[in-house]
């Protein structure tokens, strides 16, 4: 974990209000998919960093991609920075996805929703290298919000859903997942609260099902207790998402 100024190599609006940035920095060496970075907003009056998932990692160029949806003033300000400018980044943070137990030809289900999709692309890249078989179900609000469809198609079998039916299957990812019967060696999900909650319950007893959670953060490194979630089982315990997450086993915490 380090703090450094990273150069923006690339910044492009890839969907309405969704920007893809490529950042270059030393910390890339230490990154694994599922971790996140904590980006300082380049505006003096906004103090809190913004947690953003690492999408894909390129060890060769020492760079990584993030996909940021402009949601408020902070993400707007970050996304308004041009290539060549720098951002103050703290990272990599959190635990990342565990894939150590997987073997070639294992079957994996990947479930993403909206702006939760990007970190799954980095994961899928890694799984692809390991020769894992992937079913990938991605849900978006509308056709315009779809990202990384092509990239995922190169890595596995992709199904897209849209909330309004403007592309792919009409409905939530659950519409698709409820029809899947194949047992999977692992399940990885990242998306809005509803999606995470659904996976958390549906695959509660699966030995290798994971969800990646979001919460408002202060420090990002386990010092302030802003970002907690509660353990599912007694004795009651609060877990810091920034430090012990953002990836949790299903059934581990309450979503």
């Amino acid at each position: 974990m380090i703090q450094e100024k990273q150069t923006i190599l690339w910044n492009k609006e890839v969907a309405p209000d969704i920007f893809e940035l490529t950042l270059q920095g030393e910390m890339v060496d230490a990154m694994v998919p599922g971790q996140f970075v904590h980006i300082q907003v380049p505006r003096e009056d906004l103090l809190l960093r913004r947690p953003i998932s690492i999408a894909t990692i390129d060890a060769e160029t020492g760079s990584y991609r993030v996909l940021i949806r402009v949601d408020g003033e902070g993400t707007q300000s970050i996304c308004a920075q041009h290539a060549g400018m720098t951002l103050d980044v703290l990272g990599p943070l959190g635990n990342g996805f565990d894939i150590s137990f997987l073997n070639p030809k294992d079957k994996v289900l990947i479930v993403g929703g909206g702006i939760g999709v990007p970190p799954l692309l980095g994961l899928a890249n890694l799984l692809h290298e390991k020769d894992i078989d992937m079913d990938i179900v991605l849900g978006f609000q509308t056709r315009g919000a779809i990202v990384y469809e092509e990239e995922f198609k190169r890595l596995g079998h992709v199904t897209i859903t849209t909330d309004n039916g403007s592309y792919g299957i009409h409905g939530y990812v659950s519409t698709v997942i409820d029809t899947l019967t194949q047992p999977y060696h692992a399940i990885y999900a990242c998306g809005p609260k509803g999606l995470n909650r659904y996976i958390n319950l549906k695959f509660e007893d699966h030995p290798h099902a994971y969800i990646s959670l979001e919460e408002r953060m202060g420090c990002g490194i386990g010092a302030c207790a802003a970002c907690v979630c509660q353990k599912r089982k007694e004795p009651r315990e609060n877990i810091k998402i920034c430090q012990h997450g953002p990836v949790f086993k299903t059934g581990e915490v309450i979503v």
Partner: protein
């Protein structure tokens, strides 16, 4: 001679800069970013007798040049702090200031009594002012009679010097500070957060699950400076000051207001390297401003007042 050294009751500080309570946990992962031995001291997260789970999330919200928090005193409880958290800080040459909170006078007393016996706890910071705790926390900090009695009761059982942390959410902070002095405290820390709220215009509901939270960060600095100035004129106790410190000039501004050491909270989140940076920049800025040592600055502020 160490120009940055400051001696306060219980605390022989190699420099006068430390993290504020609740913004640094018990070190958190800051130790992975830099050597915590650089710090003057460490003010750790509030400890209560039993474990506390704190408030629901969201617990933080952003505001212009500030933030709101409503953590709600989440902490693992006295036993765990004594057995797990504090021992981990033993490996550093770092005086610990233990922040103590409670719902009842008895709880405060018990925590102070026991935590003040921990080998690396050099001082107690009595948190009588946390705005996020429903059970009485706010009342403790705003009534001078209660403050005086609580201070005395804790002082009586503490093995180390006792500092009391003042809330800014009062009509007359000087009155509270005087009560703290009468109660026999060895020092004052100030300020805690200002009560605030943010509402999400999309949901029309407060952002914080707790509805209100404590405002901290540069936004509150002028309030903190004014209060440190007023209190340091009115009582004869050393003050560890905090509230919005961001730059080395902010650090010095608080000394000129009457502080004897400073703590940094919120800005750790913005720049996790802020503490070592400020400690590094301080001597250079002192040179520019003709300040030979921090002790000399503290002294000269006192003397200037004698002539006011």
């Amino acid at each position: 001679m160490n120009r940055l050294r400051v001696k306060l009751p219980g605390l022989d500080l190699k420099n006068p800069i430390m993290p504020a309570s609740g913004c640094f946990g018990f070190g958190g992962d800051y130790g992975k970013l830099y050597d915590l031995n650089l710090l003057g001291a460490i003010m750790v997260k509030a400890t209560t007798l039993e474990e506390r789970y704190g408030n629901e999330t969201p617990r933080v919200a952003e505001t212009p040049s500030g933030m709101l928090n409503a953590i709600g005193l989440q902490n693992p409880g006295l036993e765990d702090v004594l057995n797990e958290k504090l021992p981990k800080l033993m490996k550093y040459d770092l005086p610990v200031i233990a922040n103590v909170a409670g719902s009842t006078e008895e709880e405060y007393i018990e925590v102070v009594r026991r935590i003040s016996q921990a080998p690396n706890v050099h001082a107690i910071e009595l948190n009588i002012s946390c705005p996020n705790v429903k059970h009485g926390g706010i009342a403790f900090g705003t009534d001078p009679i209660v403050v005086e009695r609580l201070t005395r009761a804790c002082k009586d059982v503490s093995r180390v010097p006792l500092y009391v942390k003042l809330s800014p959410n009062v009509t007359d902070i000087v009155e509270i500070a005087k009560a703290v002095q009468r109660g026999g405290a060895d020092g004052i820390t100030m300020i805690n957060t200002l009560l605030g709220m943010r509402i999400d215009v999309k949901t029309r509901k407060p952002i914080l699950a707790n509805l209100t939270g404590g405002l901290s960060g540069p936004a509150i600095k002028p309030v903190a400076v004014r209060m440190v100035y007023a209190v340091s004129h009115a009582v004869d106790l050393p003050i560890i000051a905090m509230g919005g410190i961001k730059t080395v000039d902010d650090v010095l501004e608080f000394f000129m207001a009457g502080a004897s050491a400073v703590a940094i909270g919120t800005m750790n989140f913005h720049d996790p390297m802020i503490l070592p940076k400020l400690i590094d920049q301080l001597p250079r800025r002192m040179d520019e401003l003709g300040i030979s040592s921090i002790e000399a600055l503290i002294q000269s502020v006192k003397e200037a007042r004698a002539h006011e």
